[in-house]
């Protein structure tokens, strides 16, 4: 009598060949898109095929839309790349949001206080340096806590985000134009001082080029450099790192300086290159989204091009749908959430498999 015998149990898989694991992920994305389509149809009454049509319309509907999609993707990609070395080190830097914000703040500060007082080239140089520096400092603080006292970095970086937000809110009022508006307005609108230059006459190209360069450099840095090797060892086993004489504190701090600095660079692009103003929501939560972009790509910089594209595609597509139907922009977040759930869930089927129990008595 076999009673209470489990119907199935879960077994850890050996490594799946890459085409199978990416097949599973692709299937999850397709399934998620189907669910998203159904939900959109229910809320809008739109024919499902038109839903997908609207998605593509939103992301690629016109030359300008393609450029904006690519530009948004570049910023998200840079932030994701910035967080990646920290994640590889198992340092959960949830503070991308704050690091980008202080970078943006530093940029705006330079533009406002130094604009027209020094040559433009020098101004841009100072902006770049101070944005990167500001981001680095924001990354450095939790890194020091972590290195010295093993303070939980997920929560300390999170708190740093809100401190950064309040700092920006403070300066927004200091710099507000006109008084009482609580906004800064377009900075140096007449002189364009401190506006980042256009590449080949296109205002969209600069972030794209920087994102591509960052992707390649980050890939090489993580895979082939000594620093990258140290990051992997510290992430896998801090004890082993100490055992071979790596200074883990130094590596944590160095990596977070890099991580924060790159976020600061994204802040520079947001203020100096794209928006020419600063608000507390200028980064619109991309510091958090980037965590997922980086994780979905399994911390591989090249794969991140695709994952950041996926997220931006969804945002733009859902944005299009909400505009067309007078719905709230947050619709995109719901769809993004659903897609993420599917992709997160499908990892299980890559690492494990479910086995039905064979009858023993036969």
């Amino acid at each position: 009598m076999n009673k209470k015998e489990p119907l199935f149990h879960i077994v850890k898989r050996d490594v799946l060949p890459w085409y199978k694991s990416w097949g599973i992920r692709a299937a999850a994305i397709v399934a998620a898109l189907v669910v998203c389509g159904i939900i959109t149809t229910i809320t809008t009454g739109l024919n499902p095929f038109k839903v997908y049509g609207s998605f593509i319309q939103g992301a690629f509907g016109s030359g300008r839309k393609v450029w904006i999609t690519m530009q948004n993707m570049s910023i998200l990609l840079i932030i994701s790349l910035a967080l990646t070395p920290a994640f590889k080190m198992r340092f959960w830097n949830i503070g991308g949001e704050g690091q980008v914000l202080v970078g943006a703040l530093a940029t705006a500060a330079c533009m406002i206080t130094l604009g027209d007082k020094i040559p433009n080239a020098l101004l841009i140089l100072i902006m770049t340096v101070s944005a990167i520096l500001a981001g680095s400092i924001w990354g450095l603080i939790p890194a020091i806590f972590k290195a010295k006292w093993n303070t939980n970095e997920t929560l300390s970086t999170l708190m740093m985000n809100y401190i950064a937000t309040q700092l920006v809110a403070f300066f927004t009022i200091v710099w507000e134009v006109p008084k009482g508006s609580f906004t800064v307005g377009i900075i140096n609108q007449s002189t364009n001082a401190g506006w980042l230059p256009q590449l080949f006459g296109s205002k969209y190209l600069l972030p794209i080029v920087i994102a591509l360069l960052t992707t390649i450099s980050m890939f090489v840095y993580l895979k082939y450099s000594k620093h990258g090797y140290e990051i992997s060892v510290v992430g896998e086993s801090e004890k082993t790192a100490k055992y071979v004489g790596m200074k883990t504190e130094k590596i944590i701090i160095r990596t977070m300086l890099l991580s924060g600095g790159l976020c600061g660079l994204a802040g520079l692009l947001l203020v100096g290159g794209i928006n020419h103003t600063i608000t507390t929501t200028i980064n619109s939560g991309q510091g958090f989204t980037a965590v997922m972009v980086s994780w979905l790509a399994k911390f591989n910089p090249i794969t991140m091009i695709f994952t950041s594209f996926l997220i931006i595609f969804l945002e733009r597509g859902a944005g299009e749908i909400s505009t067309n139907f007078g719905l709230n922009q947050s619709f995109a977040d719901i769809l993004t959430g659903i897609i993420l759930f599917f992709i997160i869930g499908c990892e299980f089927f890559i690492s494990y498999r479910i086995v039905g129990r064979k009858k023993g008595d036969k």
Partner: protein, 331 residues
């Protein structure tokens, strides 16, 4: 002059959503699940209640509302919404063993999206003929103070002037503490969070405890969202108004070293810190400094976080398996 009698009720009003979130997250974290989706859950808890109340108010647009239903419908909707969020989290992290940080962040994106989407589109979607979501009639039931509050002077103001959800928050925190530290279920739950393989070997169903603790935790946290919109905000939903209270609730868990009783005091302290900027005179010319004062709760949390990690006392540490998924046949 600083009016303490006026200050305390406001601080407590601020503290209630934090306390709900904190108690819920303590239960969740004690099971070893670090649920960073709590901010999303609280949005969902709030908006689900709003949706329930919205339709009920529409339903009896002309006539009178039944007080019992006016409370129960939003309450049940809220619990159900948060429960579904908890189930999503558990399905992904417990059953499918996904990374808890990523799942939590995705839940926050999703939950905040749900809140703001329905908050912004509910009227259009339902085709109702109202300019904005203002559930003042439902809110009246939620924020009704104890009957004799107004007759008791300062005592009534400080202790009796709150809606029932406020008392529920304190009660839930106390009950959570008793369950965690005085009952067998609580002992088992703590064992699951500390060392799931040991708990498993002792015959405790690890997955079931994680599911229950996380889902109940989410339902409690969701009440924080409901309280905020129905009582604190007088039934007016405005997008993003709930703000970052969810994250602050997660920070509170650390502040209260995983003990809901400390959570009560900590949440009142945080509630006070959250609004203290309103009481610091700055004058009209220095409005910007108010923004700096709003920074205080975060700076304080950061300091506490650092201080507790410096002290490094065994009992004050996070549950040992926090953030890790458990697989029995791991070799």
């Amino acid at each position: 002059m600083f009016d303490i009698v006026a200050f305390i009720p406001r601080a407590i009003g601020q503290s209630v959503p934090l306390l709900f979130g904190c108690s819920g997250e303590i239960l969740t974290e004690k099971s070893g699940n670090l649920n960073l989706g709590i901010p999303g859950v609280m949005y969902v808890g709030g908006i689900s209640g709003v949706i329930g109340a919205f339709f009920y108010e529409q339903h009896c647009a002309g006539g009178n509302m039944n007080g019992f239903l006016a409370i129960m419908i939003p309450l049940l909707c809220s619990l159900l919404g948060s429960l579904l969020m908890g189930l999503i989290y558990c399905l992904l992290t417990v059953s499918l063993r996904a990374n808890q940080n990523v799942t939590g962040l995705a839940m926050t994106t999703f939950g905040v999206g749900i809140g703001n989407f329905f908050g912004g589109s509910l009227i259009k979607l339902s085709g109702a003929d109202v300019p904005s979501i203002a559930l003042s009639r439902t809110s009246a039931f939620y924020s009704r103070a104890l009957p004799f509050a107004s007759k008791m002077g300062w005592f009534g103001k400080v202790f009796l002037s709150y809606g029932f959800l406020c008392y529920a928050a304190f009660l839930i925190a106390i009950v959570s503490a008793i369950v965690l530290f005085k009952t067998r279920k609580g002992l088992h739950l703590r064992a699951v969070g500390e060392n799931p393989s040991t708990a498993d070997a002792a015959g405790i169903n690890v997955s079931r405890y994680k599911y229950f603790a996380t889902c109940i935790g989410c339902m409690i946290a969701g009440l924080g969202g409901l309280y905020y919109v129905m009582d604190y905000a007088s039934g007016v939903w405005s997008n993003d108004a709930f703000g970052d209270r969810g994250w602050l609730a997660i920070a509170l868990v650390i502040f209260s070293i995983w003990n809901p009783l400390i959570g009560i005091f900590a949440s009142i302290l945080f509630g006070g810190l959250y609004i203290v900027y309103l009481y610091i005179p700055t004058g009209m010319d220095y409005m910007e400094f108010k923004e700096l004062y709003k920074m205080i709760p975060y700076v304080v949390t950061l300091l506490v976080l650092v201080l507790t990690s410096m002290r490094n006392k065994k009992e004050n540490q996070p549950p040992a398996s926090l953030g890790l998924s458990y697989f029995r046949e791991e070799r």
